[in-house]
Amino acid sequence: MSIYDLVAAWFADPANWSGPGGIPARFAEHTAYSAAAMAMAAAIAVPLGLATGHTGRGGLLALGLANAARALPTIGVMFLVVLAMGIGLVPVQVALVILAVPPILVNTYEGVRAVDPGLRDAAAGMGMRGAQVLLRLELPVALPMVLLGLRTAAVQVVSTATIAAYVGVGGLGRFIFDGQNRQEFGMVAGGSLLVALMAVLVLVFFWLLRRLAVAPGLRAREAAARE
């Protein structure tokens, strides 16, 4: 049996599509882990990036920490947190949040800092207060960068949530590690394909979000700048 046949057989087996260990359930688990971690990371990193970007204070420190964090190996962080807190969903979530915060923070901060000072001057000169400048000018103009940060983080979270299965939780990674243990290659490859599919879905999701959320004036301006 060829590799292709093994994978096709695994996907074709109806037993793999039902129950708590089935593809839909694992897919839902994976989505839930990733979405929860992203929500928490965004709740921490976006306001922090906006605040440091708006005031300019503490920005370099945040940037330095975030850049240093990107040099850390994800599996090291994951295993260290799990070892410290014990096996379970909470330590996995903590590790995912730790990994997702830096890209969101860096991009939000850079996005706000990149807002033309002339625009800030105009906003203040027209009588906008600090929070109004942030919400009506800086956030919308920085939004493409914020979304890029969220996308980068989401891709990484989906990938790392796969590894989380190694420490005993659910998600699509289960297929990969269980398949490895049972020497069932169809299962390993099927799980891998599903993880790759989810990553592509994340890209599509952010592409749609960008179309919906970013002001047309900014999108067109970027397109014009690219040409």
């Binding site: 040099a71 599996i75 960068m145 891709v155 891998s192």
Partner: protein, 222 residues
């Protein structure tokens, strides 16, 4: 992880497994970076010249970059077996997502008048590319290499999950599988140290290669 770091374990394992892991880690990360650069240069040059190629190429490398490394490693495993290629090929592909845009941006930074002056002095297209355009693009290329190398060095650790070596193996097999924190901490710290060391070498290389450039590396954000 109640106990503090076990220094005695580190002292005993300096050569093996720590030293071996560092060497394997360097091999597993530097080869993909070099391969990635080799592939990215012609792709970037082509995309800069034939503009219509660029958007689909960019989408392609971005989608590749989004695919989780663990999935690619496992999908390649039956073809490449337990050789370094299982890790090297995907990692090299990932670097394209960072290097290609940087090369294109770098070539775009060559001012039109410089290009025209070179042509006016009788440079052919290839000579102009090698002697004028690529040198001007060096800072942008190195900025891309810095981001790519930090990302690759950190990502190599995942290769341990398919059974390859490097600092990831230290973390996984010596550390987590034995519920022993010291190797994990050593692995994490050494990975970061390697990343910063390679980054520092690249900054140094840029200063040597481009004595004419202003002393502030442009930052790549990813």
């Amino acid at each position: 992880m109640g106990e503090a770091i076990r220094w005695d374990w580190i002292a005993r394992g300096l050569e093996d497994p720590i030293g071996t892991a560092v060497l394997q880690h360097l091999q597993l990360s530097l080869i993909p970076i070099a391969l990635g650069l080799l592939a990215a240069l012609p792709l970037g040059v082509a995309a800069a010249r034939w503009r219509r190629l660029y958007p689909p190429l960019l989408t392609g490398v971005n989608v590749l970059y989004a695919l989780p490394s663990i999935a690619l490693f496992f999908l390649l495993l039956p073809y490449t077996g337990l050789t370094i290629w299982t890790a090297v090929l995907p990692l090299a592909l990932y670097t394209l997502a960072i290097l290609v845009p940087n090369i294109v941006d770098g070539l775009d930074q060559v001012p039109g008048h410089v290009r025209q002056a070179a042509t006016a002095m009788g440079f052919g297209p290839l000579r102009r590319l090698v002697l004028v355009e690529l040198p001007v693009a060096v800072p942008a290329v190195i900025a891309g290499l810095r981001v790519a190398s930090v990302a690759t060095i950190s990502m190599v650790s995942v290769a341990s999950m398919v059974g390859l070596g490097g600092l990831g193996a230290l973390i996984l097999r010596e550390g987590f599988n034995n519920r022993f924190a010291t190797p994990i901490i050593v692995g994490v710290v050494l990975t970061a140290v390697l990343a910063f060391a390679v980054d520092g070498l690249l900054v140094l290389a840029q200063r040597l290669l481009t004595p004419w450039a202003p002393r502030r590396g442009s930052k790549g954000v990813r």
